[in-house]
Symmetry: C2
Subunit: 407 residues, 2 copies
Amino acid sequence: RIDARRLEEAIRSFGRIGALLGGGVCRLALSDADKAARDELTHRMTMLGLVVDIDAIGNIFGTRPARAPDGAAGTVMIGSHIDTVSTGGLYDGTFGVLAGLEIVAALNDAAIETERPITVAAFTNEEGSRFQPDMLGSLVFAGGLPLADALATRDADGAVLGDELRRIGYAGDATGPENIAAYFELHIEQGPVLEREGIQIGVVSGIQGISWHAFRLTGRSAHAGTTPRAMRRDAGMAAARIVHGAYEMGARMGADQLVTCGSLRFTPGLVNVVPQEANLTIDLRNPDDDALRDAETALLAIARTAAAEADVQLEHRSLARFAPVSFDPALVAEVERVATGLGHTTRRMHSGAGHDAQMLARIAPSAMIFVPSTGGVSHNVEEYTAPDDLARGTEILNHLVLHWSCP
Amino acid sequence: RIDARRLEEAIRSFGRIGALLGGGVCRLALSDADKAARDELTHRMTMLGLVVDIDAIGNIFGTRPARAPDGAAGTVMIGSHIDTVSTGGLYDGTFGVLAGLEIVAALNDAAIETERPITVAAFTNEEGSRFQPDMLGSLVFAGGLPLADALATRDADGAVLGDELRRIGYAGDATGPENIAAYFELHIEQGPVLEREGIQIGVVSGIQGISWHAFRLTGRSAHAGTTPRAMRRDAGMAAARIVHGAYEMGARMGADQLVTCGSLRFTPGLVNVVPQEANLTIDLRNPDDDALRDAETALLAIARTAAAEADVQLEHRSLARFAPVSFDPALVAEVERVATGLGHTTRRMHSGAGHDAQMLARIAPSAMIFVPSTGGVSHNVEEYTAPDDLARGTEILNHLVLHWSCP
Ligand SMILES: NC(=O)NCCC(=O)O
Ligand SMILES: NC(=O)NCCC(=O)O
């Protein structure tokens, strides 16, 4: 009942919005490319007969009404995001949203009416590349971040989220569905586990904890040739030591503790000038919250020591902090049952990436379905998932949505 | 005979060209601000009756003719530079050039004719901030770098030096003086030694070796949450390890071995993306060439190990390599004699910074005079040297130039 070719065509079509020359897409949240993708999405929603609502943080909700307004309580929501990192692939987020549209299209084709409404949602700034924290739109929707704080967030160039939202015309006044019977998110795994083990479907039992940190080190710019070591206040040396120390700490803590320094930059950034300032970010992840807390404590100690040794000033900001989440056990079991029933091989797994489902789990029973990522590659223009895998995941999602919308 | 107030006014006036809001100047080589400073310099030279020549690499020579064309052989050259780092002070380089103009002005005022011509020179791209190597103009002038290679040099944004030279109108066709009887460079110390020891004049016996390195690490961008450590090719981790290792190596080698990582940047530079690429520079300095060579060998070994361990590709480029230089012993002794004769306290010292004199020493007897830098601060907007110190240095230079131009 799912048209796998139509879904593929939709994914390819969105892949042209913000396309990079060498493949992949750059569709940073609230950029012009994001606006173009939002325009295309709302257009498609309208064409499918969905009622489109935009909320104050720019989340897009397309709702297919139930047979009668007095049907079963709550909407069945299929959600994800259409923003990308700056060198992203075609599947991360977009697949889950377009799979939702495909399911609606299939219901329309078969003229099926449901007892519960069905809502396809695209949440704002899931990636966290441009504005922090990640999953910002779904976090606000779930009541985890005051709207005013979210709107005041600035990107690295100082642009204010609320201004950008207005600029692209997606500062809405709707509130979105108030009662969600179940939330489903279909996503590529973005990691290597399913492919490596030859398994078709990942039944996601939860998401690991995420902890993002920004450090600013302020020293004193000085001449690289004339300034004796003892007189230096070298912000760059301190930064390199923090990053090195963070990776060493991660290695000591074992395979579950991931450490990534994704951004590091010196000012003024000249070969013969001791850096005045260094800015860096550290991404810590761990499925165990206590262990993640240990890593955070260790990171701050490393940073303080490095800054003190280099006699530079240290500022620390938490950019995001999400505890590990376990999805609704009954819903997870149901995903597993449906997938197995359709004859697919499955595996329970934790998600390494953050997802909007992690936020939605605060307000509704939530679950996720993973399909394999070729080479485990994501946040990379070479991200790829085979059409058969996309179809399998969408088919499972379709069964779940049908079951929940026609209880 | 030197008008200290006129010199100060000239320095202040040049300090307005490319002035930064918070003080200091940004006059990167061949930028619009550099062009404005060059225009002002050549205008002042012309007003002083100097014959202005621009050579093919943009070096500016203003020559005050000798009494008779068959006077003593060779010109007496006073040189330095007027480009700055991006967050530079008012004195580095500019002081030496403007002291030359002040000496010419004083000769004009007193209507003194000399046996040898006097040339005030401003060399292109001494700082090396925008184009590498540093001292590029004087290096080409001294025959140490083919003109075509120098013109083909690119800055970090890919702009070609030769194009920029034409753009600002300073691609000349003169060759500059062919016979230099003596080369003098008056400069701020840029370090803390004179101030700390309460000495007025530094008699510069030589310049330490300079070795600049650029490293590019190419890994694979990947998702920070889903990519197990063993599957990462983390260019950022490798870069941090190189920088950390370089500083450790410097510390082990003792106070004479300076290490600076002035520039470090990740691509794509996002909090949750393992860096695809990292670019960094390392500046190594040592007064002893064998020790400098040891440091270079150690640095390359550190880089290779870090890259291999992170499974990332390593590219290395040498951006500059200048062996330590000793200035002409007789000329150095003469600087010392003149300074002492004028009643100033002196100290022989090596220069930590590179200078055009380091290149000129290849083709002419050369020497340098240092005056104290407040707090030892340079390559910093707070760079400062007191008017009395500027005057003392200029007075010594004046005596030396008079002696050599009227032998
Ligand atoms: N799915 C995904 O890539 N989310 C971005 C947030 C994260 O860094 O995990
Ligand atoms: N004098 C000076 O700052 N020269 C720049 C070249 C160097 O880095 O030493």
